[in-house]
């Protein structure tokens, strides 16, 4: 890039010099008889200077040759020959060459000084712009990207890679531009304690690798490696200043990330303890009924009639089911947390799923509350029937917990062209709009009753595992209404299941 610009300037300088030579020589050509040889030499200096101003000293050299030829050919008698003739003319020619060389030198150095000043100012502005990018609250990965990208763009490297000090060795933090090959990268990783200056590591044909150590407050942070063309010499000072700024910013971001992680851990720990507390409450509640019933039954002095005995035995059985369900839920939850939950969908009838869900609830008394309001037969969905019947059971259990005993809990089914919507509504107090999302939270705990949201968060996880959604709204009665969707499996006009159309999962 830098070379291209120089070459462009030079050719422009040469062109300008050539054009002005043409103009001044043509003008002087007509007055050739009236002007002295020395005057012509003086005038011919102008085009060379113009060329130097644009293209630098090298243009001056071309201009001298050009001027020399024109001068000798056109303005020094005998004309149109290279012979110079009189001694006086030799002197004029010699003075012309010396003057042009000296003036070109001066003009060229002025030009260089000016462009240096411009470049310095430009660099200062770029550094400011670059450093501005590092400010502000950036996450670490974003910051690393920014550093790599801005180094690449600002200094015109082909590729930039930012290596960060990992636990054992340097690791790639971010990269910009063309990718480094893994071989190249392995060569790049230097010994610890590389000097914090820009140095060329290797020359590979026309390409050169530069590397620069990053350190913040003397602590090594990593390495910035850049690939560019052979002739390229980046502004070392600008680059290392920027690298220092970047290192400080990276350190700050790392510290912030660490603090955040520590806070997150603490939070998780706190919630785990809360969860443990409420799970133990949930375990203890059925145990309390079982123990009470069993100890009444075994008390010989208790005056129990056969019906009461049966009721106590039934309590033990129902509460054992409840405990079992809780244990199943806990196991499911750990499966979800371990990430080993994969639904195995098959084509099932919705009515069958609902039946299984109600069965899984176990609680006979609660079962009488449940009304399946609208469930058309022969609606098929693609679902893992074990997971989905668990979802239905969990939703029903939640409804039973919050609904008054005498009010029904309703299950509704509706379908669109591609989905089946199942909903469970109760007559409980409902959930305020701003808390509806939190209800599915694993750590959500009903602050008053101490019940965990385990069942609901499992329901959500199971439905999500099917790629579907579960939502909570308020029912017409003001109670809670949970609705989830499942993919519909269409049946053709002959009543056959169109398995091909079933969404494959």
């Amino acid at each position: 890039m830098v070379n291209g610009r120089k070459w462009r300037e030079e050719s422009r300088g040469v062109a300008l010099a050539a054009v002005s030579f043409l103009i001044v020589s043509s003008v002087m050509f007509f007055f050739r008889a009236h002007i002295s040889v020395a005057t012509a030499a003086l005038v011919l200096v102008i085009p060379v200077i113009l060329g130097v101003m644009i293209g630098g000293f090298s243009v001056g050299l071309i201009g001298i040759v050009l001027g020399f030829i024109i001068y000798d050919f056109v303005f020094i008698p005998p004309y149109y020959t290279l012979s110079v003739g009189q001694t006086q003319n030799w002197i004029a020619l010699g003075v012309f060459v010396v003057v042009v060389i000296l003036v070109s030198r001066v003009v060229a150095s002025l030009k260089d000084a000016r462009s240096l000043a411009i470049e310095r100012e430009h660099n200062a502005r770029r550094l400011f712009e670059l450093s501005k990018l590092l400010l502000g609250e950036k996450e670490l990965p974003e910051l690393l990207e920014t550093v790599a990208n801005s180094v690449q763009l600002t200094f015109g490297f082909e590729a930039v890679v930012l290596l960060l000090q990992g636990p054992e060795k340097l690791e790639v933090g971010a990269s910009a531009g063309q990718l480094f090959s893994s071989e190249e990268l392995s060569q790049l990783i230097p010994e610890i304690g590389a000097p914090a200056t820009l140095y060329r590591t290797s020359e590979d044909g026309a390409q050169t690798l530069f590397s620069l150590a990053l350190s913040a407050a003397g602590r090594p942070m990593g390495l910035l490696v850049m690939r560019g063309s052979h002739a390229q010499s980046p502004d070392a000072q600008l680059l290392s200043t920027f690298a220092n700024h970047a290192a400080l910013a990276i350190e700050q971001a790392q510290l912030k990330q660490q603090a955040l992680q520590a806070k997150l851990l603490e939070e998780t720990d706190r919630w785990r303890r809360a969860l443990l507390g409420s799970v133990s409450h949930d375990l203890r509640t059925p145990l309390a009924s079982i123990k009470t019933a069993a100890s009444s039954l075994s008390d010989l002095s208790a005056d129990l009639d056969p019906n009461q005995r049966l009721e106590l035995l039934d309590t033990i059985s129902v509460q054992t089911d409840r405990l079992t369900r809780l244990v199943v839920n806990l196991l499911d939850m750990s499966r979800i947390e371990a990430g080993v939950l994969t639904p195995r969908p098959s084509t099932v009838e919705v009515a069958e799923l609902i039946e299984e869900g109600i069965d899984a609830l176990g609680d006979d008394q609660a079962r009488q509350q449940i009304q399946v309001r609208s469930c058309p037969h022969e609606i098929f969905v693609s679902a893992d029937h074990i997971l989905i019947s668990q979802v239905i059971a969990n939703l029903l259990e939640n409804a039973v917990r919050y609904s008054p005993k005498e009010k029904p809990i309703t299950i509704d089914v509706s379908s669109t062209s591609s989905k089946v919507l199942l909903s469970v509504s109760d007559w409980g107090p409902g959930v305020p709009a701003d808390q509806r999302e939190r209800v599915f939270d694993l750590f959500h705990k009903d602050s008053e009753s101490g019940h965990t949201g385990l069942g609901l968060s499992i329901a959500k996880a199971f439905v999500s595992a099917h790629g579907e959604d579960i939502t909570l709204t308020n029912s017409e009665s003001g109670g809670a209404q949970f609705t989830f969707s499942l993919p519909l499996v269409p049946i053709d006009e002959y009543g056959y299941i169109d398995d091909q159309a079933a969404p494959d999962r």
Partner: protein
Amino acid sequence: MTKLLLIDDDRSLLRALEIGLGAKGYETASCRTAADGLVKAVHFAPDLILLDLGLPDLNGIEFCRRLRSFSELPILVLSAAEDDNQKVGALDAGADDYVTKPFSMAELEARIRVALRHAQRRSNIDEKTTLKVGTVSIDLEQRRVTNHGIDVELTGREFDLLSYLAKNAGKLYTHHQILRDVWGRGYGGETHYLRVYINRLRKKLGDPDGRIIKTKPGIGYQLLDTTEES
């Protein structure tokens, strides 16, 4: 017939308690919310309340506080082990004792009997001048304490502490309650004072293992409950 009011939001536990306690000759009424409980405490006029701490509408502490504003009915708390703070709070607010879930009917009945006895004793304690706890007798009027008939020298505060616990032998007092009632308002957090006094009392009463003055770790103290009274 002894009347018990059961307050718990778990339907099946309520039912099991109704049957179990009914079979042992108690008359029961039950409800699932604190609001109902407060109403029934008046209309049903029970002899004792069994209270679960995890009610949907009001926490147990608040229930105890509200009930105590108009009634001295004994309260037996049914608690899960994890709500220790709630338990202490409920005792501070006036509950008499607690049972941890799950409990057997035998344990529950024993606690019910003790709590009922306290209530009875509380109503006729003032006329008594001498309380007996095991081999220890406490003369409230003379401020004299004897163990096996031998005089035990106690400081004023030690006597106050012992007689305070003895007036409701078997009732579980929290650290906070004891400090507030024996040392006076403004005390409450100084459990180390209490520990020192209790240790001194135990030594003087020849009770180094805490058989007469029982420690409930993290909660408070309870004096051995014996039925002997004179």
